[in-house]
């Protein structure tokens, strides 16, 4: 009975969401027709939809490239961030020495280093992957460092009284305690990685969704730009959603997960 009730509430929420967004699209469509806004300024949802279906295979091909850049960069950023976090937490001196450098690297606008990366690594995917890695790296690092320091002090005392080894303390207490923080970092990082890939494509690329948007801009093909933009945001939403599903699986015990 209770479960049925919960299901009903979930259904209700979903229906509300659909109605809400459908409503917004309707208002957009109607006002664009009534106000007679030219397509090159702001295309209507229908025009964008037509554009997407006409160019679907092209859009998906380029989306897969951006996806590849973002996800590879994200994984690269994640691995480095977690390894660095482990080193920083275990060797205080490393934190003192390296942290200012990391903060400085983050305050430099990423777009400013893309030309250098292109100069060094060529025009292909590698500079995009590197940028995606750099932008996703920082939130994951900061959160992991915080998480690895967040274990309950009394639990650490208890582990000591059981005669636990450092490895046992890490695996059974410190790492699981860090997981909610790490996953928060991953959720921010995965969204950033898409931004990183796109920004890098803007500066210099011959493929990817960022490249398509630039092409649309040059040709004043606003509908096409919007089509690419829609695919891009769907890509971001999908990645974020995947992270949320992983979060629910891993953090089944955490108060933030219903």
């Amino acid at each position: 009975m209770l479960l049925d009730g919960l299901k009903k509430i979930k259904m209700k929420k979903a229906i509300m969401q659909i109605l809400f967004y459908f409503g917004i699209l309707m208002i957009w469509q109607i006002s664009s027709m009534v106000l007679n806004i030219p397509e090159y300024i702001l295309p209507s949802p229908l025009e964008i939809g037509k554009e997407i279906s006409a160019n679907l295979s092209l859009l998906l091909k380029h989306a897969s490239i951006t996806f590849f850049e973002a996800i590879t960069g994200f994984i690269l950023g994640t691995v480095t961030a977690i390894i660095l976090a482990l080193i920083m937490v275990n060797f205080k001196i490393f934190e003192v020495l390296v942290y200012p450098l990391l903060v400085m690297s983050q305050t430099t606008p990423k777009i400013a280093i893309v030309p250098f990366l292109i100069l060094w690594f060529g025009y292909d995917l590698l500079p995009k992957i590197i940028i995606a890695a750099i932008v996703s790296f920082f939130p994951i690092l900061v959160n992991s460092v915080k998480g690895l320091k967040s274990a309950d002090l009394e639990l650490l005392d208890l582990m000591k009284s059981y005669g636990a080894t450092n490895k046992q303390v890490f695996l059974k207490v410190k790492f699981p305690y860090a997981l909610p923080y790490i996953i928060t970092g991953l959720k921010i990082g995965v969204a950033f990685s898409v931004i990183g890939a796109i920004v890098a494509e803007f500066v210099g690329a011959d493929k990817g969704l960022g490249y398509l948007i630039m092409q649309g801009n040059i040709n004043l093909d606003t509908s096409f730009m919007f089509a690419a933009l829609v695919i891009l945001s769907l890509l971001g939403v999908a990645l974020y959603k995947i992270m949320s599903i992983i979060e629910k699986k891993v953090l089944y015990w955490h108060p933030s997960v219903e």
Binding site: E154, D157, L158, K160, S161, P255
Partner: protein, 260 residues
């Protein structure tokens, strides 16, 4: 084990901390001497912030004293800790929120002897039966009340059969009704399993109700004001607090606290 053999001996114990800016040292423990006998229930009583927790951690070998010594059966406390002779229960249950109740209780066993999972589960289940929570073995800690969580913490502390149970205000965050119940349960566990208990509390009533001996501490830096033997009959039930002997001992201790 003889009834009156000294098993923990605390001599001239001092502990000084450096404060945050590391400028001036703060004396937490001035000079403490007392003994605990084998199988005894000893209570350490003192006002909040007087260094009781520090004292308990030193007894359990988690902190080193600045000077003086804690000897457990003639050897250093740290030695006893390394031989897993201490089971701790803190004010906060400190359960692992992602583990079920059963998994929480066998955590120490998993660390001590990881290969013997079935035996570990059996021992954990036995303890859960003793604290009356076997029905909840597959629940997560967040699904249990504060009192139940603390019972899990006690089961976890006893599951590897430590010689000593060191408790730091374990029931102070519970409501009074639950606390009374937990005290009686603790006494019955103690009768069954016979660990030596060192129990830190700020409640005189609780100390008199539970313990054989109450070590009364002063304000920080703490010194022993008095060690009071509590010769109330056992087993003790709730009605003991209405007896004349109980009131007499309580009044006696209160008097000691007044005339510095």
């Amino acid at each position: 084990m003889g009834a009156n053999t000294k098993i923990i001996e605390i001599e001239n114990l001092k502990k000084t901390f450096l404060n945050r800016e590391k400028k001036k040292p703060i004396k937490a423990i001035e000079n403490i001497n007392f003994d605990v006998n084998s199988g005894e229930f000893a209570a350490i009583v003192g006002p909040s912030g007087c260094g009781k927790t520090t004292l308990l951690k030193i007894i359990g070998g988690l902190l080193k004293p600045t000077s003086g010594s804690v000897l457990v059966r003639g050897k250093d406390a740290e030695h006893a800790r390394q031989h897993r002779e201490f089971g701790f229960v803190f004010q906060n249950p400190a359960l692992l929120p992602w583990r079920t109740i059963l998994e929480n209780v066998y955590l120490p066993l998993e660390i001590i002897s990881k290969d013997n999972k079935t035996a570990n589960i059996k021992k954990a289940e036995r303890l859960l039966k003793l604290v009356g929570l076997i029905k909840f073995k597959n629940n997560l800690p967040s699904e249990l009340s504060g009192g139940m969580q603390q019972r899990v913490a006690i089961a976890r502390a006893l599951v590897f059969e430590p010689k000593f149970l060191l408790m730091d205000e374990p029931f102070s965050s519970l409501d009074e009704i639950t606390r009374d119940k937990m005290n009686i349960e603790l006494l019955s566990l103690w009768h069954k399993l016979k660990p030596t208990i060192v129990y830190v509390t700020h409640s005189l009533k609780e100390a008199v109700f539970l313990a054989d001996k109450a070590v009364i501490l002063s304000n920080r830096p703490s010194k022993v004001k008095k060690v009071v033997e509590i010769d109330l009959p056992r087993p003790r039930g709730q009605q003991i607090i209405y007896t004349r002997n109980y009131s007499r001992i309580l009044r006696n201790i209160r008097g000691l606290l007044k005339d510095k």
